[in-house]
């Protein structure tokens, strides 16, 4: 019981730290990350689609759901993903692993803090 409690505590701390690292994202820094990594293909303006769909309101949105964007791959449309912060984090870390067959020509962002920042920025777009 004591051992179980210890592992539970480690698990809880790990999850908490993980969530904190996501939550610690800085939207101001995230705006810069967005400009560097995403802005050529995506806009943060509502209804403004480029090669990729607008990312305004992306957090919490269903994948492939921007109504007037017709460039989605079948893989993306069929993915049944809802873009939670965690899912976005996984996706922008390894796009082709999360959506095999997707169109996005992006190798991924390794920097955990930068991902948290850009997710914080996307979350702030309301």
């Amino acid at each position: 019981m004591k051992k179980y409690s210890l592992w539970s505590a480690v698990f809880i701390v790990s999850v908490t730290l993980s969530q904190q690292s996501m939550a610690a994202g800085d939207p101001k820094k995230g705006k810069d990350v967005f400009a560097e990594e995403c802005g050529d293909c995506h806009s943060a303006t509502p209804g403004k689609n480029k090669k990729g769909p607008s990312l305004f309101g992306a957090i919490g949105r269903k994948a492939g759901a921007v109504p007037d964007f017709s460039g989605y791959s079948e893989a993306m449309k069929q993915s049944d993903i809802t873009w939670s912060a965690d899912k976005v984090d996984s996706y922008i870390a390894q796009p082709r692993k999360v959506v095999p067959g997707g169109k996005m020509k992006y190798d991924g962002l390794d920097d955990l803090a930068a991902r948290a920042d850009v997710i914080a920025y996307l979350s702030s777009l309301k």
């Binding site: 560097e36 050529d40 806009s43 403004k48 689609n49 090669k51 964007f69 460039g71 190798d107």
Partner: protein
């Protein structure tokens, strides 16, 4: 845009047009160089992207990695919406003041010896996606200086992306009319700084053959970008017939004996925040300058190395550096042996270019560049030179303002304009600090120093 189409005062007058026509039409007269092609708003409308996505400073032609990939992808990327019309238009107007009035024999027809204002160029573009894999960049230009129309730039591409092993690759084919037009980087003749210059400028001295064929040749180039990092291109060119040249109002570079061969290798690395590329380029051709006297050809071999770096960051502060060095080996079989209009059978030409730029907020830009061309001593070939050398060097400074071209800009993506001032200063011109102008008088290199105010707009 006939950015480098200024004539050479000394050459035109010193040895006379006969030599110019026989020899320098191939290697030196910059007037043959087709125009600089630039920002094309129809691409922005097609992709939904802003000018700043593809171009440093919000106006062409200096490409970002996104712009390079758009070009290599055959101009076919889209925002998925149909009914995009692949048409654009461009206008360049300028006012040019030279330090000292040019010689009467050297002034451009229809204009004065100094303080000239001109609508230098009006262009129409057929530029955009034709099918999923085919796109075009075709520019037709009316020169308000030469008072004539010409088919200016042609680049029709087929491209497709595929996997080679587990690596991404883009394969493409280009049909074009200018050896460096196809290049995706910002260092070779067609795409390097200065991106606009005055037709009333004295020019930058002799340039390698590769840079002087625009419009007068037709080429087929195959290219590949492998694993996003390795770029290779091979092109074969032939000169157009006289009838073909007349149809499109292109200059005559003579007739190739065999085909001209263009090749390009480069390594490019895009780290998003910044990027760099380094490469090699070459062009070989045998040219028969006089179409009525075929058989013996001048032989030109060009070899160059180039490198570039861009810091893009969050696009608020952008820095770029572009550099190139090119050497040309000339074997003037026709000019030396048949015409006796060169001192040497073999000559060489060395050209160095360097430019650095800073842009603030994709709106305010400052660019400084240097040019330095050196070559063999040949008094017959370079008749306007006092020491027989073609050496020409100096610097270019430019400041510009590009108010639009951003996502939230007024009139986007239709309204685009750049206003600027450019100063060209000469240390040497045709050999040294002085040369012989078209009237036969000695003229200082610094007399050619030029200020240009320009307005450059496109829709």
């Amino acid at each position: 845009m006939r950015a480098s189409s200024a004539k050479w005062p000394g050459i035109a007058g010193g040895l006379g047009l006969r030599i110019v026509g026989k020899i320098l039409c191939v290697t030196a007269l910059l007037g043959l160089s087709a125009s600089v092609a630039n920002a094309v708003p129809s691409y922005a409308r097609q992709t939904g992207s802003d000018c700043v996505s593809c171009h440093v400073g919000g106006y062409g032609p200096q490409l970002t990695p996104y712009g390079m990939n758009f070009k290599l992808g055959g101009y076919t990327d889209t925002d998925g919406k149909d009914m995009k019309i692949p048409l654009s238009a461009m206008l360049v107007a300028n006012w040019t003041r030279t330090s000292k009035d040019v010689a009467e024999a050297d002034k451009l027809e229809y204009f004065g010896t100094n303080n000239n204002a001109a609508v230098q160029e009006v262009s129409l573009f057929l530029a955009g996606r034709m099918t999923d894999n085919i796109g075009t960049f075709i520019q037709s230009t009316y020169s308000g200086v030469e008072k004539k129309w010409a088919l200016d730039q042609v680049d029709m591409r087929f491209a497709r992306s595929l996997k080679l092993g587990d690596k991404d690759a883009t394969l493409g084919l280009s049909l074009n009319n200018n050896p460096t037009l196809t290049d995706p980087f910002n260092t070779l003749a067609q795409w390097r700084f200065p991106y606009v210059s005055s037709d009333f400028n004295a020019g930058f001295g002799p340039t390698p053959l590769m840079e002087n064929l625009g419009g007068s040749v037709a080429g087929a180039n195959a290219y590949m970008l492998f694993d996003k990092n390795f770029y290779a291109e091979l092109g074969l060119y032939d000169t157009l017939s006289t009838t073909g040249l007349n149809m499109i109002n292109a200059g005559d570079a003579g007739k190739f004996k065999g085909v001209g061969t263009y090749w390009r290798l480069a390594y490019v690395k895009d780290m998003k925040r910044d990027n760099f590329n380094i490469g090699l380029v070459g062009f070989n051709a045998k040219v028969q300058p006089d179409r009525s006297d075929l058989g013996t050809a001048n032989d030109y071999r060009d070899l160059g190395i180039d490198a570039a770096y861009q810091f893009l960051g969050n696009r608020e502060h952008i820095f770029t550096v572009n550099a190139s060095y090119m050497k040309e080996w000339q074997t003037l079989n026709y000019t030396y042996s048949n015409l006796a209009e060169a001192d040497n059978l073999k000559n060489s030409l060395n050209q160095f270019r360097l430019a650095g730029s800073y842009h603030y907020n994709q709106t305010w830009g400052a660019t400084a560049g240097i040019f330095d061309t050196r070559g063999s001593t040949d008094s017959l070939l370079y008749g306007s030179s006092l020491n027989g050398r073609p050496n020409t060097s100096g610097y270019i400074l430019q400041g510009d303002w590009t108010p639009w071209g951003k996502e939230d800009s007024w009139g986007a993506p239709f309204a685009n304009v750049r206003l600027g001032v450019q100063y060209t200063g000469y240390n040497r011109f045709m050999g040294g600090s002085s040369y012989i102008d078209g009237d036969g008088n000695e003229r200082r290199a610094t007399d050619n120093n030029t200020v240009m105010l320009f307005l450059w707009t496109s829709i």
